[in-house]
């Protein structure tokens, strides 16, 4: 009973997280926040807490969550399901904390710059 409740609630929050994250990305963009070509998601506190409480082998799960968020974010921003042609890599770097980096291929950046210049 408890497991079912926990599972249900987490699925709910995962969806709400995607909506929240989408808004955060738009805010960051409005603040001219993101460096050219690379969307850096600094989740220092998030991962550190998670690492302390769980083992680091959970890492891939976090990546999966972030990739899920990325999917929802792009869908929310651009309204299209053009993710197949959206080559990107999500990686984790640990240096003075933890940074997750979602790196888009050059073609995507070039297209994005072209749109911006419009």
């Amino acid at each position: 009973m408890e497991t079912r409740f926990t599972r249900g609630k987490s699925a709910i929050l995962e969806r709400s997280l995607a909506k929240l994250f989408s808004e955060m990305v738009q805010y960051c963009q409005s603040q001219v926040y993101s460096a050219s070509g690379v969307l850096c998601v600094g989740l220092l506190d998030v991962l550190d807490v998670l690492v302390l409480r769980e083992e680091w082998k959970r890492e891939t799960k976090v990546l999966n969550i972030l990739l899920f968020i990325k999917v929802s974010v792009w869908r929310a921003l651009f309204g299209k399901d053009k993710l197949d042609g959206f080559p990107a890599k999500a990686t984790v770097h640990r240096h003075k904390g933890t940074t997750l980096m979602i790196k888009f291929d050059e073609a995507v950046i070039a297209r994005d710059k072209a749109l911006e210049g419009r």
Binding site: T6, S10, L17, L20
Partner: protein
């Protein structure tokens, strides 16, 4: 077998922690970007509003709720369906004003504030103000102008978290001339 399901539960629990921590990261970033708490509160309300105006469509599609007859019904739907659908909690609806245009939503728990403490130098910060914006934005999309604010906040030492919602007016739908 039970050990495996524990793992699943832990993995899923991590999602709700991620939600709480992400919201915390947002508030922290806003505190850095804006020097004072009032500005942060305003920004949270604005972002919430942006989320709310989009959320209402998602809500109506997923809940198949028809048009509410009055503000009382609206409040019930918000508390029992909407909050449940997006935050997994069900606040109680109380403290109706005599005119029936103002009510309180009492939140027993709030996933946004799990493990959160407000530092002393942010005593005017309304940490969960995003929620007020969401409600305002969503209701505006169904032609209801409301004023939403936190009346009590456990983060600021109150016993409960209370959102006070006041109906201002019904907004005119833009009908073409000649229609009833």
């Amino acid at each position: 077998m039970s050990r495996q399901s524990n793992r699943t539960t832990d993995g899923k629990k991590m999602n709700s922690e991620l939600f709480t921590l992400t919201y915390g990261a947002l508030v922290t970033q806003l505190c850095k970007d804006y020097e004072n708490d009032e500005e942060v509160n305003k920004q949270l309300d604005k972002m919430g509003y942006n989320i709310g105006v989009r959320l209402i469509e998602d809500f109506l599609a997923r809940s198949s709720i028809g048009r509410c007859q009055d503000f009382r019904e609206t409040a019930d739907v918000i508390a029992k369906v909407a909050f449940k659908m997006y935050l997994g909690i069900t606040p109680s609806v109380t403290n109706w004003s005599p005119a029936g245009d103002e009510l309180s939503l009492i939140l027993e728990s709030n996933p946004l504030v799990d493990f959160v403490e407000l530092p002393d130098n942010h005593s005017s910060l309304v940490y969960s103000n995003l929620l007020c914006g969401v409600l305002r934005g969503a209701l505006e999309m169904v032609q209801m102008a409301v004023d939403v604010k936190f009346a009590q906040d456990t983060l600021r030492g109150d016993n409960v978290t209370e959102i006070r919602m006041k109906f201002i007016k019904r907004m005119e739908e833009n009908l073409p001339a000649g229609d009833e």
